[in-house]
Every structure is written in C-alpha cells, then in structure tokens.
Symmetry: C2
Subunit: 387 residues, 2 copies
C-alpha cells in the first residue's frame, strides 16, 4: 500500500492524499460506505461505482464469518469475487460487533443472556443469529480476514462503551495493545490468500481519557503499520470530547500514514475531523437514516415524512449528483416511504451515499485549492443552522 499526500492545508491539519491498494486507488479524504454483510444495504454494486462514486466499501468480519461463513467466501476466491466488487475493500475485525450486538440484545430482549466472556486469550461470544458459541482472538480474526481478503484489515480490539471507568479503559487499552502485538505477529506469519497483499491497521483506544489516548496513539504509532485507526469514539460521548480525542491522537499518529476515524459520523463532523487530520471515515448513518426517510441535502437535512413534502414535486436535492435526484420527486419518495416500499430505501440510500461522497470530493478540492478552512466553516455553520 502506498500513501501519497498531494496537498497539506496550511490553516488546518487537513490533507488531500491518495492510497494505492491492490484493487486500485482511493482519493482521500474518503467516506467508505458500510456493507456489513457483503452488501451496502439497498444499493447495487454498480450504483456504488457509477452513482455514489464509492472508491472503497466496508465488510464486517463478525457478520461474514457467521453468514455465509468462511468456507463459502474462500471457495468464491475472497469477498471481492463473492460480491462482485473489484475496487478496494476494508474489513472491520468484528470486535465492535461482539460488544455492541450483545448490548443491543440485552436491551431488546430482557430475558436474553448473551455470552461475552473477555479473557486475555480472546472473546467467547454467542452469535446474534442463532445463539451458537464462537471464539475470536487476535490470531483467528487475522486468519478470517486473510480469508475474506480485504485490501485493508483491522486489528482485533476491545471497543470500550461510553461511559467507561478510567480503570476499565486503562486495562482494556493495555489488553488491546497486547492483542495488537499478537495481530501483527499473526499478520506477519501469514500472507494474502489470493495473490495480492493486504495491509493491517491498528486501532487507538483509550475512551475519553486524554492520557490514555496519548499512550495508545504512541503505542500504535510505534508499530509502524501502513495506516492507523482511531476507535471507540462516536459511541455516546459529547461531540466536543470526540473532537478533542481525535485532535490529540492525530497530533501523535504519523503524518505520512493514512488516519482512519471509525464510525464517524454526521457531515459536519466529517469536515471538522478532516481539519484535524483524518483521511478516512465509515459510518452507517447515510444508509440507516436513508431507510428511516432522513436525507442529507445541499439545503440541509430533511425528513421526507414531513407533511410539507406531500405535494413537493421538486427533486430530492436540486444539487444532487446521482440519478435518483433527476428521476424522482420528494413527494414520490414520501409516498414510497409511507407505503413501506423498498424503492424508498433504494432511492434514499443512493442519494445519501452520493451526498457523502460528493462532500468528501469537495473537501479534497478545497484542500488542494487552499480554501478548505473558510469553506469548511461555512459548510458547518450552514449545516448546524439547518439541522
């Protein structure tokens, strides 16, 4: 993997870069649509390429390991071939899902007793799908990600919840660091199964504690991986805490490697974090909100279920770049949403992802032109006013 920085902003820490992987180039800053189960929900692969202009998408180790299972993915020749996607892929290690899905089940099914036993060795858990018992370790999550075959794979970590006691966060971070060493060892002992190289990104943890974040960022930086990620944010903490932690960590993570902020976020949060030096983002927000009828537009965020759109036959977004903005009206999308028709999710998902992708392209252009800060401040203000 090669990371080339084309431009560095003079007024902020923003950078315009380019990552080269075995499956092609990624222009940064980049937003990566989330395709948890090997599909970005409600969007065809060719729509991701042609309409969203996605340059990389995510898959999830936890979900793909359970369904369709590694035997199928290996026989297919890896996830790229299995899903019909020849551009770059990134897989999350599954750590986050083991923790968040168990919590979700505890809340939604009061009687449920999800297994989640964390030891130094790894995590024993039961699948949210059928309750079957599984064990994830630094070693086997690397093996699984070798089988999935994404261009960028993630270290196995414990993603601490929010709020989190200092002592828990500190001990957890220590274990995440020891797990990282084991991930790197396993990664170096193995190689890509399908004839191309993969790269491993470690993950900075430390909850909302500045000293822990500093320690973690220094440890992660010292591992000298090809790129670095920041995890455990956007999990419930105040936005200012998220920005604060991101700033501290970015100041330590090496400039010459891409920085990936996991699970963030709203459009204006992306812009602020680009200013802090982040290059890569992923988040379910554009697709999940799309399915709930919430649309990101050049005129602000709207809920298509609002009565005022009942007979609004104007485009979803007059400045929208994807075909759905030309093909369909707000009133039609509102009708489809109320009628619970799949086409509602299909239209809104393409629209929202195209909005995010365009925002990142525009951010890149502004960085290159040296006008990023002014533009970012105007955009963030507009969005805040309109949200």
């Amino acid at each position: 993997m090669i990371f080339k920085i084309d431009h560095t902003d003079k007024e902020t820490k923003a950078r315009a870069g380019e990552i080269t992987t075995a499956h092609g180039k990624i222009q940064t800053p980049i937003f990566m649509p989330v395709g948890t189960r090997g599909t970005v929900k409600a969007v065809h692969q060719h729509e991701l390429k042609e309409e969203v202009k996605a340059q990389i998408i995510l898959g999830n180790t936890y979900h793909l390991y359970l369904k369709p299972g590694m035997d199928v993915i290996e026989k297919a020749g890896g996830l790229h071939k299995f899903i019909g996607w020849d551009l770059p892929l990134l897989t999350d290690s599954g750590g986050f899902q083991i923790f968040s899905l168990a919590d979700e089940r505890r809340q939604s099914q009061p009687g449920a007793k999800p297994v989640r036993k964390i030891t130094e060795e790894g995590v024993k858990f039961n699948a949210d799908t059928d309750g079957s018992i599984h064990f994830f370790s630094p070693e086997n999550t690397i093996d699984i990600q070798r089988t999935i075959g994404a261009d960028i794979i993630m270290a196995f970590d414990e993603c601490t919840p929010y709020p989190c006691e200092y002592e828990y966060a500190k001990n957890s971070m220590g274990m995440t660091h020891r797990w990282l060493k084991r991930c790197i060892t396993q990664f170096n002992k193995t190689e890509g199964k399908y004839g191309y190289a993969q790269d491993l990104f470690p993950i900075v943890q430390g909850s909302v504690y500045k000293d822990l974040r500093i320690q973690s960022a220094e440890f992660v930086a010292s591992q000298n991986c090809e790129g670095n990620a920041i995890g455990g944010l956007s999990v419930g903490e105040a936005q200012e805490e998220m920005f604060g932690m991101t700033e501290v960590v970015c100041s330590i993570l090496p400039k010459e490697k891409p920085r990936y902020l996991m699970g963030v976020g709203k459009p204006e949060q992306l812009l602020e974090c680009i200013a802090l030096g982040i290059d890569m983002f992923d988040c379910v927000m554009p697709t999940r909100n799309a399915r709930n009828g919430m649309l990101f537009t050049s005129q602000g965020t709207i809920s298509i279920r609002n009565a005022k759109y009942k007979d609004d036959f104007s485009p979803i977004d007059p400045e929208g770049t994807s075909f759905v903005d030309n093909a369909y009206s707000r009133a039609y999308l509102r009708h489809l949403n109320f009628a619970d028709e799949m086409l509602a999710s299909m239209i809104a998902s393409v629209h929202n992802l195209a909005f995010y992708a365009r925002l990142m392209r525009e951010a890149r252009e502004q960085i290159v032109a040296g006008t990023f800060r002014e533009w970012k401040n105007k955009m963030v203000k507009q969005t805040e006013q309109r949200l």
Copy 2:
C-alpha cells in the same frame, strides 16, 4: 389507441401485434409488471426500461386512491409524472382488491370485521390500511382512473371467488354487466385530464361456467371497446378450467381488439394462453416469488435457498439478459436471501421480470417466424419437467 396485428399464427390462435397509446407502442404478446402502489417492488424505473425492457406497467386504483390519494396524484399531473414513468400505464379498477384484501384480512386477523357491502349502486368497504370507510362505484372508479391518468383503464367489476355457486356467479355477472354500461357512460361523459386520450377495457366474468362465460364474452364484445379483458380466473380453479374458459372467451371476443387475461400466471401458462389468442398479461408472480427466492431461469424454476447453491458461483441464469446475471452469482444471491438483505429482492425481481419479458419477446418472434406451436410445446414440456 390503435391495435395492429402483424402476424397471426396458422397453427394456433396466437397473434403478434402492436398497441399504440399516447405514451408509446406496446409489442404484443406482452407481460405487464405490477406496480401496485406506483412502484414495481424493489425495481427502479430505469431498470424496468433498460434491464427488464418493460413496455407498460400496472398501477392499482384501490391502493393509489388510499395512498398517496387523488389530490397528490392530480397535483403531480397524473401517475406517469408522479412516479417518473413516461411509457404506457394501465390501472386495474380496484374491484379485485376490495374483494381479495377483505378476504385476506378475515383470514389473517380472525377478529377483524372487514366491511364489504355490495349493492347495485356499488361497494362500500373499509381500507386495509386504516379501516376508514369508502365507497367505489362504476362512476367514481372511472373518475379516479381519469385522475390517475393511465393509458388503459379498467371497468369496475365484481371478481367472484373460487369456488362460486352458479346462481351467485350468474347474478354477479349480471351486475358486472350493468356496472359496465355505467362505466362506459361515465367514461364517455368525461375525458382525459392531462391532454391525452385513455381507453377503457371491459372485463368478462362468469366464474368457471361455460354458458356464463359465453354470455359475458358476448355482452362485453357487443360494447365495442378498444380492448377486452378476462377476469376472475387464476383465483383457485384448476389450470385446465382456466385454459378452457380462456379458450371459450377468446373465440368470442373480437379478433381485431387486444385481449388481456388478468392475473395470469406461470411462464408455461402464458405460452398456452398466447396460443389461445391472449395478447396481454399481468401477474405478481415474478416479483412476489423473487422476494421469496424463487427464480425463473432458462434451466427451469429454482429456489435460491436450496443448499446446492451454497457454493454455486455461476450466474443466476447463464442465458439471462439483465445485468444481474452478469454481476452476481447464485451463491451470493442465496447469501443475501438468508441474510434478509434488500439486495436479494432487488436482484431477483429484475431477473424474474427480465425472464418474463424475454419469454414474451421470444414468443412474438416465434409467431412472426411461423414456428410458435412447436417452440411453445417444447418450452412448456421443458418447464413442466423442471418445475
């Protein structure tokens, strides 16, 4: 509306024709995808045009009247503009839905007391959506269909269930005929709201009673409408009865007008009915079955959930004509189906509709080439063997 017959088969009653409407031409025999609520489920409008090569789609009066309501559709300038579809449209009158949805509710909600009061004047019913009370008559269903603005609109009829007592069927048919006269009167008293002409098709009823079907076909034929439909079949009767009734009715309905068999059916049934002189079909089968993982292919009908497709990385249909057959494998589609992902329905719906459309194009080519009967018999035999 102009109906031109290009070729009449010498060995069967099959015809290759062309219907010209205000929104373009339709080559017959034609299968019309069902877009009940103004969307063919899980399929984008441009996919209907470019991948399915649909020349006409259906909307439903009952559903569109309830949601989004006539005020919205009228403000939009009709259904074509509302949904972004500039090719021909046909609307069912809603009679079938009033009857079938009330029965479905009675079965699925044992406590439910759906209102369905049929009088000479019309039908009082409550909406399946919110229980609100409505009244449909021959006159107002014509008015509603004027507002929807489909190129072809249907007379308001009573669709008798199966089985149906002779006396009930006879009386019901009599009322459907009287309603037809009122539909035609209302149709002639009104005109298209959006600057183009619409055409009204009457519907032959009579359950599975040959003498009633003859009476009804003669009555309908005598009204001299631009096309004629056969209703009340494929509602539970044996396939041979359906073919028998279709044959009797086709022998009476005028040759020079298109004949539309409503709600039919499986691929081999379409071919048999083309041989009996049918020109137009609609059915939810290709889209509904798609959502259940049932696929119509050149190698027969398959359930993608079958274990044998787990690691079958071949195309859904090697002879498939739509992009989904190149883009995705059977194993991937199976995974998406089990993972309950929308993309499963999206892929299978495009595939099945493209299969139906191609079958109709091929039937037309065979009619024109004078080889229809032999080809049809081979196709039907193949399908029966493989189903």
